[in-house]
């Protein structure tokens, strides 16, 4: 700085040069002004990390017994297995070991669980639970449990009639049925231990999420943000199925379980009954904010973490205010349900940015200090690193193209929306990124302590709102904006990205024609697994992203890969194939009347998917020969 000032003083003594310099300054100022202007309507893109050096993880992970007892593997939700028989050198030799047809044609999003040499899989509606005996050749069926949910619940589910899986604890398998029942099934016999109805389809509620069992409590949440429900998280006694507590997302503090222990980091989240006051009168009663995603647990802090869905109705003008506590994250005490802190990723959500995505609990070096954080890739396009003791946002970095916001103010924690991209009835807004399914939807990431990277399956889409077009539901006409989604710049709809959570940068990324709608799995063999909507199950090198092996399954993949040590001591990798979900619904059939008219509009980017794959649920398990 000092050196350059001296230089300028010398230059200023020569008039011609001075004129030249002044012209340059004016030109430069002009360019800066133009760029600044352009940026308000331009696109934020992720930063690619040059000279990435693997940074092995210094924190502790849960001990690994080679089983897979809950969808996210451990309480920290790493989806990392310490099994290393399958490695970057031999993954090319992977072969199918056995398969199992579920006989169902809707989207298969569940994670195959493995406990005591038995594999458990939950199907989409009608939500059958199969137990397969891994000790016998071909893993024959041990038993099937059929909860027989009411068919009417199919009409209530938002985006295909999926189920994201079960959780094992203390001899029982727990999961949710589409018609709002949480069931406990004896893991050995397949006998129902208890069944509790926790929601009501007549109120538009359904259940698709996988429970988490913490300290004898089964934690479950509802879906149905698109149907005017009131979102909640409920804890059931694991032994009896009795409801222990229920925490609503919106409403008075006593319903949200906000009390004296509630200490949000940012002032905008503090105050009495914000779950009522940040809404028009009574609007919180149908305000959405379901809990249909992932829950993580930190045993040391004794806190659970989960995100809340978008507020309803979609028409944001009808609900002025921040609409707390939707599109944000809660930390709660699992024993009592009491809220400890809350942070809102997308206050007064305008774009269907649910905040239900996974929270990976890690201890990371941040600006020279080890911080207990959670890493959360949000639908709004940022990977957040948040201090999980306090709720302070430490960083928010772009991982997919964003035009709807300018960034996150780390001082105030506020998302900075771009005014000209705000949807207003009757006004056509174009070039919105991310789209309604977000930069990333439910599809969960994995973390490898060996590379220090998070592997994020995600979308790469933008959308335009077009003219108003007539629509109707059951005889009642209305108009909706016609939404058209399309690939973000680059001409592809999805990516599988290796992400450095410390630097907030992309290390490598693998583009895919379609959104990558499957979960990710990381292993100690430095092999990372994921699947694509056109049915490829892939193994890539955890360091470089190099494709090591791929297998074409019978249908598109939207499931969660898991791995386990079989009774023969071999490492196996399991995945459910069976296209569907919001993205694949166009194939799974019966789909969205509103694809072409209202805000769902996913069909535009998916319309060629039927050329690539067909429906049908099948379990695939792979191993080395």
């Amino acid at each position: 700085m000092r050196g350059s000032r001296k230089l300028s003083l010398a230059i200023f003594q020569q008039p011609v040069l001075l004129f030249f310099i002044l012209s340059l300054i004016i030109l430069f100022a002009h360019i800066v002004a133009c760029t600044a202007f352009a940026q308000t309507s331009s696109m934020q893109q992720p930063v690619v990390e040059q000279n990435y050096q693997p940074r092995s993880y210094q924190g502790q992970l849960e001990p690994d017994d080679g089983q897979w007892i809950r969808p996210a593997k451990d309480f920290a939700s790493t989806r990392y297995s310490s099994l290393d028989q399958i490695n970057a050198g031999n993954a090319k030799d992977l072969k199918p070991a056995f398969t199992f047809s579920t006989g169902m044609t809707r989207g298969h999003e569940a994670a195959p669980l493995v406990v005591d040499n038995t594999m458990y899989i939950v199907t989409p509606f009608p939500n059958n639970l199969y137990a397969l005996d891994l000790t016998k050749p071909g893993a024959p069926m041990k038993w099937v449990y059929e909860p027989v949910p009411t068919p009417a619940s199919q009409g209530v589910a938002c985006c295909d009639i999926v189920n994201r899986g079960a959780a094992y604890d203390n001899g029982k398998i727990y999961y949710n049925t589409l018609d709002n029942q949480t069931v406990a099934v004896d893991a050995k016999t397949g006998q129902e231990v208890w069944k509790t109805r926790v929601g009501d389809i007549n109120k538009g509620e359904s259940m698709t999420m996988a429970p988490l069992v913490v300290k004898g409590k089964v934690l479950v949440g509802n879906s149905g943000g698109e149907f005017g429900v009131r979102g909640w998280l409920t804890a059931l006694d694991a032994k009896t199925g009795k409801i222990a507590w229920r925490a609503y997302t919106a409403g008075p503090d006593k319903d949200v379980l906000i009390g004296s222990r509630f200490r949000p980091f940012y002032p905008q989240d503090r105050g009495q009954d914000l779950g009522v006051k940040s809404w028009p009168p009574d609007a919180w009663k149908i305000g959405g904010g379901g809990v249909w995603g992932w829950i993580s647990y930190d045993p040391q802090l004794n806190l659970i973490y989960y995100g809340t869905a978008n507020p309803g109705p979609w028409d944001a003008e009808a609900r002025p205010g921040d609409n707390k506590f939707t599109s944000g994250i809660f930390a709660r005490d699992p024993d009592t349900g009491e809220a400890i802190w809350f942070y809102q990723f997308s206050p007064h959500d305008l774009y269907d940015y649910d905040a239900v995505n996974e929270n990976i609990l890690l201890d990371l070096p941040i600006r020279g200090q080890t911080r207990r954080v959670l890493v959360h890739p949000d639908r709004n396009g940022y990977v957040y690193v948040i201090d999980r003791t306090s709720g302070e946002v430490l960083s928010a970095s772009v991982f997919a193209p964003i035009t709807t916001s300018r960034g996150v103010d780390l001082k105030t924690g506020e998302l900075q929306y771009v005014d000209e991209k705000k949807p207003i009835t009757g006004k056509v807004v174009q070039g919105l990124c991310p789209t309604a399914p977000g930069a990333k939807d439910w599809q969960p990431s994995a973390f490898s302590p060996r590379t220090g990277l998070i592997y994020i399956p995600h979308n790469h889409l933008c959308m335009d709102e077009e003219d108003l077009t007539p629509n109707y539901i059951a005889g009642t006409p209305y108009v909706g904006a016609n939404v058209r989604m399309y690939d973000a710049p680059g001409g592809y709809g999805g990516e599988f990205t290796a992400w450095d959570p410390v630097e907030g940068k992309v290390v490598w990324t693998i583009p895919d024609h379609f959104p990558v709608w499957s979960g990710a799995l990381a292993t100690a063999g430095d092999v990372v697994f994921y699947g694509t909507l056109d049915g490829w199950f892939k193994a890539v090198d955890a360091h470089s992203g190099k494709l090591l092996w791929q297998f074409k399954t019978g249908s598109g993949i939207i499931g969660q890969p898991t791995t386990y040590k079989g009774p023969d001591g071999k490492q196996y990798v399991a995945i459910l194939s069976g296209v569907g979900g919001w993205a694949g619904a166009i194939v799974a059939g019966g789909l969205d009347a509103r694809d072409e008219s209202a805000a769902l509009g996913f069909a535009g980017v998916m319309k060629d998917l039927p050329k690539y794959t067909n429906k049908g649920g099948m379990l695939y398990v792979f191993a080395l020969p």
Partner: protein, 271 residues
Amino acid sequence: MYSPCLKFVAGFLLLVSAVGADAQTRELRVCADPDNIPFSSRDQTGFENRIAALVAHDLDARLIFIWQRMGRGFVRAYLDNGQCDLLVGIPQNYRPVLSTRPYYRSTYVFVARPAEPAISSLDSSTLHDLKIGVQVVEEEYTPPGEALARRGLQAAIVGFDTTGDGADSIVRAVADHKVDLAIVWGPLAGYFATKAGQQLRITPVEPEVDPSGLPFTFAISMGVRKGNLALRDQLEKILSQRAPDIRAILDEYGVPQLPLATPRDSDGVAN
């Protein structure tokens, strides 16, 4: 002397031709909601069931109802997949289908207790002091709800679900003083207002189109699979010939009806 024989022959021929005709009788497969009165019901007492029967009669077709809740996804699941051929009442130019010329036009209406001052406009200043029921269709407010929100009246809105068992709850809420006023799609309002146990006043919403472009009136057509021009043309002919009969059915159910635009104008969107 010949007559019994002739009679027999004639009868035999008639029988044969009837059987033959029956074997060839076309089917008209109509997608219909099993539980959505006044539109449609499994016991075929909805006005759309009655209109379907009339059309099937004129087409000389056997009427088959395919019962399906008309929530999201049903057009692709049923009409596009060929499980049914016809949707009886859809807004004109509804994109997923090929629509006929509209056969009636209705409007969102104010439903009020007769003792209260009359309100016909969304711009009425008295709206500020009222609790106003509006319908919520899945995640969206119906157009009057959005129009109220645009006028800063979010606080006045009380949302009501419109389908299934609770379809009449918004009208009952007016009668029961739970809200001061409701804005309801005409066919629902007209039908349930007669069943509310007390007289309710029904007034079309003004203006017909909100300055933002939101329409409050909708022309209703029949819908067939895209590309099925033959059926569309036959339906249009029948709808035109039977216009008085259809009007009579709609009147019977209390459906508020506005004049249809001339055919030339009716190609516009929504109304």
